[in-house]
Amino acid sequence: MINRFRQNVRAFKVGTWLGWQIESNWTNPVLYVLFVVSRPLASALILALMYKVIAHSGGSDDLFAYIFVGASVYALVGQLMEGMSWAVLEDRERMGMLKYISLAPSSLYAYLLGRGVAKVLGSLIAVPIILALGAVFFDLPVSWQSINLPMLTVALLLGIVMISFAGLILAGITMMVARHGGFLGMAVAGALFIFTGAIFPITVLPGWMQTIARGLPLTYWLEAMRRALLDGARGPGFESLGDGRLLLILAGLTLITALISLPLEAWAEHRAKEKGLLDMNTAY
């Protein structure tokens, strides 16, 4: 049991190491940092400036901060979800290595988690830089004083675990489909962008969409991240929810995501073996 755990930790480390090599090894460190910062920064700026233009001077600073922080930290979601699906696709069809990793005794899931986490490392560098730029150039109310560090740490950890398990579900589905599966992570992350209050409060959504939004762990994660970064500011729709209860709900939903993810992933692997897809090559 201990040996198996150790082996899985190694697979995770190797996945992270390889993922980092793939992510960062194509250029020099300065250019790499510029690259990882520019993409989410551009997204956040587009959204924030759109808001500024539409609202002219009537918009509140609170809503600007809501959009800017939401769009910035959401980069982590996209990276982690896409990361694992892409790892399946890349290893299977471009590198031709998924079959060799699959027949090794260590856990394929641990390895894929590592690959996903490697993607996030770039974003973990990028998000603080983007927030700092937002504070300097757009009066974003984020400062050392406004950050609740313990809450940020807990929310970030829970978020990474929760998104990783969600990413594993997508990786499992990618295992069962052809090359287009690579866009699955992107598509799901895009869809969740609307439902989870990433750029606008869930209270503006129609009733049925709000119901879905309140069942999604990402909604609570984004709320927790905003509170941790913006001096405890409570987002619309969550005014009556205390910080402790918010984190508890997030932890519970993370556990549920894990409980759904693991059997689903095992089933997906079984189906992939049944259909002979672990070494499929669709001329990607």
Binding site: R6, R10, L18, K99, S106
Partner: protein, 331 residues
């Protein structure tokens, strides 16, 4: 003392059917097979015969449609994790590997999947690279390696975990003669010195199977047609005689006429550059006169005539009715 099962590989009525919307393809049609620990076992057959499907099932990458298979005593479906602890695999003819990593990094990475201590792994990597003649390329990025060199690296990857059972799927495909020879020699040595180390090798190179394997199974269209030592397989043709003839170009009509001749057991014909090659298995020498007569009737001239010892190719022809190349074309 490590546990040694009675059979390293055991398959019983193993079937695999691929279903598509249009049709069902029987890749394995009820394979029964046993390989003992310490054997270098060859699976010989044309492309599409079911060799790779069998290897995929035995390495837990594919589920069988029915039947059972065990590797090192463990069921490939029920105990797949245990199976994976005892095996490794190398496939030929592919350019797999993480191109941005060096040879050493690629191998180190895989050593971690098998739980090897980093220091021990580095030592083993150096030893293996030395054996396959890749030591001077240890620091080279895989994307800069030729297919042959990548294949050598993959061979090292397969041996890195020192598995009980090593599956080699066409390992010398695309390799130059010298590289193929190196890998064959080391494979043989690894089995001979390994005390129970077992290799299942698939190949469509007859000579490779003949020279390397302790036993060979001939597989075609998902069925094992014969299984024995190469010598015993060839002895099946000892009552017959094998000739190879080269003539000026002849057409398929001659082939049909010759097959109809009494005493002609099997015949394969192929067109070479400006001549035809006929491989004949005859009941005895006396039949040859009739064969030459028919050739003459077709206004063809005999260029060369060779009476030779039966090869595994002849065994394949005798079992299947046509040569390996023709079998591949048909499939």
């Amino acid at each position: 003392m490590r546990h040694m099962p009675e059979y390293a590989i055991e398959a019983s009525n193993l079937r695999r059917i691929y279903k598509t919307k249009e049709r069902e393809l029987i890749a394995l049609g009820g394979v029964d097979l046993t390989v003992r620990p310490g054997e270098l076992f060859g699976l010989l057959g044309p492309n599409g015969a079911g060799k790779t499907t069998l290897i995929k099932i035995l390495t837990t990458l594919l589920l069988p449609s029915s039947g059972t298979a065990k590797v090192w005593g463990f069921d490939v479906v029920q105990d797949s994790l245990q199976v994976r602890r005892h095996i490794n695999m190398v496939s030929g003819g592919e350019s797999s590997g993480y191109g941005l990593l060096t040879v050493r990094e690629n191998l180190w990475m895989f050593s971690q999947f098998y739980g090897l201590d980093s220091k021990a792994a580095r030592k083993r990597i150096d030893e293996l690279l030395e054996i396959v003649g890749l030591a001077d390329r240890a620091g080279t990025k895989v994307s800069h390696l030729s297919t042959g060199l990548r294949q050598k690296m993959n061979f090292c990857r397969g041996l890195l975990s020192d598995p009980e059972v090593l599956f080699l799927d066409e390992p010398t495909l695309g390799l130059d003669v010298e590289a193929a020879r190196t890998l064959r020699l080391y494979t043989r040595r690894w089995v001979d010195e390994g005390q129970g180390k077992t290799v299942l090798l698939t190949t469509h190179y007859m000579q490779e199977a003949d020279e390397l394997c302790d036993r060979v199974a001939i597989i075609n269209r998902g069925q094992i047609l014969a299984c024995d030592t190469p010598a015993a397989l060839k002895r099946r043709l000892q009552d017959e005689v094998v000739f190879r003839l080269h003539t000026t170009p002849v057409n398929g009509t001659l082939s049909q006429e010759l097959e109809a001749l009494g005493g002609v057991r099997r015949l394969t014909m192929r067109q070479l550059d400006g001549q035809s090659e006929l491989n004949l298995i005859l009941a005895d020498d006396n039949i040859l006169g009739g064969v030459l007569g028919r050739i003459s009737e077709h206004n063809a001239s005999l260029i060369s005539l060779e009476k030779r010892q039966p090869t595994l190719e002849d065994v394949f022809v005798a079992l299947v009715g046509h040569g390996l190349e023709e079998a591949e074309e048909r499939q």
